[in-house]
């Protein structure tokens, strides 16, 4: 046992002394304090000497040690490795018995357990490109498969055969609906303000500042309401879905659902998808209203437009088609957010880091798909002349 009764100096010192016993045998004598934090003499030259060859036996001696810990073991292991390399014999008999016991532990416990070696990284450029291509193809097929499964689950819901808990749906509705109102309100009022300011600068040049009302109304209804709500919800709710399902994956909760005969698609994904399909248009409606209000605030106070005229102008701009286009976009975005959040969560690996990766990629995928879908909407609606 290390002796802790020795005097405590501010920086204890550990020494290693080399003695030649004869031409082919050396002794390494350790003395003083060999502990973490102590100043210990370097043993590199001793190791180098043994490695150099020509030495048949090394005796390590610890009779002058006052205290020791793993620091000494580490040094002895280095000497041991050097001895093995140059086929010298190592004599540890004069070390403290506790130290010998520990050294023996490192040997006898070293069992060879056969498990998969860490995956080796691909080396050549061709391999790396091939690997990446495979991953992209895999990811696409998994996504398509997931969309298919989600569609089947939705179909089961439509014919009334889906199994999930109504209270789960209620909870997700609350979390992704009512609790999202403050942040959606803040962002959409600010977007309304910004649109009004941007419009005001341009329209002032032509003396038609009243058209700010049209700009704000059309932009909010058709584009900004849906897309800003989508991005907020992707960051807020999509990330929550991925983290929640990912943690459930870590805790084997999803496995437990499967073996209890519940389809995770119906039990977990469906309520989340339904909640967002219902809530996204409602949130979008709310965002539209507050965005227009934000624009009006600027129009009336800073631009000095009369209330009534601003309101009439806004009403003229709010056509039914713009309104419905915005709401249907919001529903589609809701499906995208729910699917990417749930997909990434379900695919998550079983560690804390994997849940983080799943959450990040759920948000990234959702935002990219939202913007891409919005672009698609623009092209199709243009072709339809709406």
């Amino acid at each position: 046992m290390p002796d802790s009764t020795t005097r405590q100096t501010s920086s204890p010192k550990g020494y290693a002394r080399l003695e030649r016993i004869d031409a082919r045998r050396i002794a390494v004598i350790f003395a003083g304090s060999w502990r973490i934090g102590a100043q210990v003499s370097s043993t590199d030259d001793i190791v180098a000497l043994i490695r150099g060859g020509g030495i048949a036996e090394v005796v390590v001696d610890g009779k002058d040690l006052s205290e020791w810990d793993s620091t000494l073991m580490m040094v002895i292991r280095r000497i041991e490795a050097a001895c093995k390399e140059s086929a010298a014999r190592l004599d540890c008999e004069r070390l403290p018995s506790a130290l010998r016991g520990l050294l023996r532990l490192t040997e006898e416990h070293a069992e060879s357990i056969e498990i998969a070696s860490p995956p080796s990284e691909p080396v050549t450029l061709a391999e790396r490109v091939g690997d990446a291509t495979h991953r992209v193809i895999d990811a696409c097929s998994v996504f398509i498969e997931f969309v298919g499964e989600a569609t089947i689950a939705f179909w089961h819901f439509c014919i009334g055969r889906a199994r999930f808990r109504g209270s789960d749906l209620g909870l997700v509705l609350q979390q992704s609906g009512a609790q999202a109102l403050p942040i959606v309100a803040l962002i959409s009022v600010l977007i309304g303000l910004i649109l009004a300011f941007v419009g005001a600068i341009q329209f002032r040049q032509f003396g038609v500042e009243l058209y700010v009302a049209n700009l704000v109304a059309i932009a909010m209804l058709r584009e900004m309401g849906a897309i800003m709500t989508g991005i907020i919800m992707a960051g807020r709710t999509g990330a929550a879905f991925a983290a929640e399902l990912g943690t459930m994956q870590v805790n084997e909760e999803i496995d437990a659902l499967r073996t209890s005969g519940f389809d995770p698609m119906e039990f977990l994904v469906l309520p989340r998808m339904l909640a967002l399909i219902v809530m996204m248009p409602l949130l979008c409606l709310y965002a539209d209203a507050l965005g227009i209000a934000g624009g009006a605030l600027i129009g009336v106070t800073i631009l000095g437009l009369p209330w009534v005229e601003y309101w009439n102008q806004t009403q003229n701009a709010m056509t039914m088609s713009n309104f419905l286009i915005g709401l249907s976009k919001a529903s589609v975005f809701g499906v995208i957010i729910a699917l990417s959040g749930c997909l990434k969560g379900m695919q998550s690996g079983r560690s804390a880091a994997a849940v983080g990766i799943a959450t990040t990629s759920a948000v990234v995928v959702a935002i990219v798909l939202i913007v891409a879908a919005d672009g698609l909407f623009a092209v199709v609606l243009n072709m339809l002349g709406l």
Binding site: I36, S70, I115, S351
Partner: protein
């Protein structure tokens, strides 16, 4: 040589919010002891452990380490005291984004002035002690549960702690791995001279390694007995203790 008290717990209460779990805990752990905290599920074993390792403020009372109170100390001082503990959590609690080698090396790099080569060699040594030589570059997720637990032990030993705390060391291990971990705990205690505190209800393991213990009773909400479990199983005057240590079977059937 008379045993030197290492941990002294005085008048400690365990509570969750307003719910009192245990009252008036008083016990002493001597240097070199393997001390078992026993009791049925829900009796507050894990809570007691959390209060001993500085994770949860006790409702009342304190723990003295080498005569220094843990909870009366300033937060920084408490941090420094806790750093001298090695703690093995129930599921290993390895940091999943780091390799085994990095897991062990992180405390070494933070709290010592050792060179990078020394830290690497020390990390390999600690992994070697638990039979994981050559696994430095693996991530925890690539290992089996038993290996993760042993790697957790290697990390707990990184800074050569005076006191090792184990939360359910045998939970989730097969009997052979569990036995091997027990042997390892004893070997480490004998050679490093550290004190070991374990929370366990694995009887085989308690009888094999513990030489001192405390039994927390969930009904009476206090520690009803303590001492060497091998003696308690025969001589305890409390039926709860004997029942726990014999799984409710006659003494002869167990030993």
């Amino acid at each position: 040589m008379a045993p030197r008290p290492k941990i002294v717990v005085k008048d400690m209460d365990l509570a969750y919010g307003d719910v009192m779990v245990q009252r008036d805990l008083n016990f002493t752990v001597n240097e070199g002891d393997v001390f078992a905290i026993m009791g049925r599920s829900g009796c507050g074993k894990s809570t007691l452990m959390k209060q001993l390792i500085g994770l949860k403020t006790p409702a009342r009372g304190d723990a003295w380490y080498d005569g220094k109170a843990l909870w009366a100390a300033e937060p920084e001082e408490r941090q420094a005291m806790v750093r001298h503990f090695g703690i093995l959590y129930q599921n290993g609690a390895l940091w999943s984004s780091l390799t085994l080698g990095e897991n062990v090396a992180l405390p070494l790099a933070e709290y010592t002035d050792l060179s990078e080569r020394d830290i690497h060699d020390l990390a390999c040594l600690k992994l070697g002690l638990v039979g994981l030589d050559g696994f430095e570059d693996y991530y925890p997720a690539q290992l089996s549960g038993g290996m993760r637990k042993r790697a957790g032990l290697a990390r707990a030993m990184a800074l050569d702690p005076d006191i090792l705390f184990f939360d359910e060391p045998s939970a989730g291990l097969d009997p052979i791995s569990s036995r091997r971990l027990d042997d390892l705990i004893l070997a480490l205690r004998d050679s490093l001279g550290c004190t070991v505190v374990i929370v366990s209800h694995e009887l085989a393991s308690i009888f094999a390694i513990a030489n001192n213990s405390i039994f927390l009773d969930a009904e009476e909400k206090r520690a009803i007995d303590g001492g060497d479990p091998k003696v308690l199983v025969r001589e305890s005057v409390h039926p709860h203790v004997r029942e726990f240590l014999t799984r409710g079977e006659p003494v002869e059937a167990v030993r």
